[in-house]
């Protein structure tokens, strides 16, 4: 039984399709990175699964149960759009309000445990309006965790955080996943942070799921390899397959050879030279996960690169452009 499944999900806003035939599958115990450009439909999907808006068509299943439109599953905790914090209350009081709303039996103990879990136990009576962005996000996660949910949906919880705060949130999410077995569906633009915690990825583009793949599959697709160009690619393929052990060699559509595995570049050169095959290019290509994901998402926004100040720096840290479709 999967934690979250959507089948042929569709959503239209005033005739414009925001989601089309979206199939998403989040297995239990996974940390699922939901990736896509701004306006691709990530938040819309999460809102539909959270019961905040109805789908135009399609089905949503959470923990095996089919949900009616605008129905939330009680085992799902959400942090969507904003943390939903009352600024005039302390962290403890914010948690108490939600605990009382949910009718938890041992509200005080639960709140204290959650404060400990997210590292806000020492905030005391400090009002939430004085919290830093990272503290607010951690409080938002604590609120989402109220009621001990099996599934946690976090919509861009790393936005606006400095690296230290982002790391704290990431560590918290991984710990919740490992210690409590919480399934996490997380959307974010910060790819390098996602890469360090996600076990699965789903890439959405123009409201449609382009691909779902495991972290291992991403690892494999983005592994470094030797790229080889020569005059006789078929003969080179046969020779290297025979004489270079541990190499996985395949012919690419442009007649270059891709050699995966722990292979010494010099050894490849020697073998081909000894067979009299003239090399025109031999180099190692490092795997670029960012490029891999960006390509799946539909590439960078060209206008953004040329006009937005600091756009280059943003991409260098693994963020996508801010422009929508």
């Amino acid at each position: 039984m999967n934690a979250i499944e959507t089948h042929a999900l569709e959503k239209k806003f005033r005739g414009k399709r925001a989601l089309r035939d979206l199939n998403l599958t989040v297995g239990r115990g996974e940390i699922y990175g939901f990736i896509g450009k701004n306006g691709s439909g990530k938040s819309t999907t999460m809102k539909i699964v959270a019961g905040l808006m109805p789908a135009t068509a399609g089905e949503v299943h959470v923990l095996g149960a089919a949900l009616a439109p605008c129905e939330a599953h009680p085992a799902v905790g959400t942090l969507i759009e904003s943390p939903g914090i009352y600024p005039s209350l302390s962290a403890y009081d914010n948690l108490m309000v939600k605990a009382l709303t949910l009718g938890l039996v041992d509200a005080k103990r639960t709140c204290q445990e959650l404060l400990d879990a997210v590292g806000l136990a020492d905030t005391g009576r400090q009002k939430a309006k004085r919290f830093s962005m990272g503290m607010k996000q951690r409080l938002g996660i604590a609120l989402a965790l109220m009621g001990n949910p099996s599934v946690l949906m976090l919509d861009e919880p790393l936005n606006g955080l400095d690296p230290d705060a982002a790391r704290a949130i990431r560590t918290l999410i991984v710990r919740l996943n490992h210690e409590r077995g919480v399934t996490v569906l997380i959307s974010s633009h910060v790819l390098d942070q996602l890469e360090r915690m996600c076990t699965c990825y789903g890439i959405i583009r123009d409201g449609h799921m382009v691909r779902e793949l495991t972290a291992a599959a991403v690892e494999e697709e983005c592994a470094s390899y030797l790229a080889l160009s020569c005059a006789e690619p078929e003969r080179a393929l046969a020779t290297l397959t025979e004489r270079v052990r541990g190499a996985r060699i395949q012919m690419m559509p442009d007649d270059t050879l891709r050699i995966d595995g722990e292979v010494d570049t010099a050894r490849v050169g020697e073998v081909l030279m000894s067979e009299g095959i003239a090399l025109s290019d031999l180099h190692r290509t490092e795997g670029d996960r960012e490029a891999f994901f960006v390509e799946l998402m539909g590439g960078h926004d060209v206008d953004d690169a040329g006009t937005a100040p600091g756009a280059g720096a943003g991409r260098a840290t693994g963020r996508f452009s801010r422009r929508g479709r």
Binding site: G51, L52, M53, A72, I85, G140
Partner: protein, 267 residues
Amino acid sequence: MLNYLRADLYRLRRSGVAAGVLLFIVGFCLFFIGMNVVIALSAGEPISGVDFPNALDTTAEISFLSGFLPLFASYAPTYLIASDWKAGGFKTVLAGSGARSGYAASKVAVGALFTLVIPGVMLACFGLVPWLLGMHIESVASASQLLMWWGLASLVGFAYTVVCTLCAILSRGETLAWVSTMFVGLGIVGNGFMLLFGMVAAFLPPATGFAQIAIDNLLYAQAMTLGNGASFVTQDAGTLVHTALVAVGWAVAAGALGWIVFRRKTL
């Protein structure tokens, strides 16, 4: 609904809103009494010679001439709703099964609590403080009269509060929630409705009967003529019952209409 009510009362307590509203009411009453004392003392009269008006009349005058009671009774539920709109986090809670009815009912219950408590606090202040200061006060004829007026004032205030609460819930924004409450609480919308019904009756004589059923300005009119010694308890039972039923009718109508819209509203 009880879970929401517990959470709302916790928020009102911890944010200081409940204490703030009640302290303001007490402060206002003390200021009003203090002004009477200062005027008397500046005229060279002893405090015991100050003839403080009937607590009932004073409370009624302040409550209904100024829209004081509906406005302050609506403050607490509006604060809760407006801060919910601002925070936004309650949306995920409202997606739960049966959550919307509990949410709305809790806010109405908070309003009802304040409409009951505020006139009581005012009555206590206007009755006890002048007595403690040794001022000459008029005594209320009987406890039943006091309770009857208190109940009637609370009921009418409650009708306004229900309208305020549902307007705030449907407003979809913090600022709009406050604006709608200010309008309704100040009696502008309420009296506007009454005037509208009056005009309809004037232009459409067949509607006169309906207007007479739906309109009731008893408390407002009584507050306007307090100086002539009018009192609520001198009205006949039928008039009092009509006043109560009109308040209940408006509360139920506003509640039903608000609920129909709210239950299908996209969050």
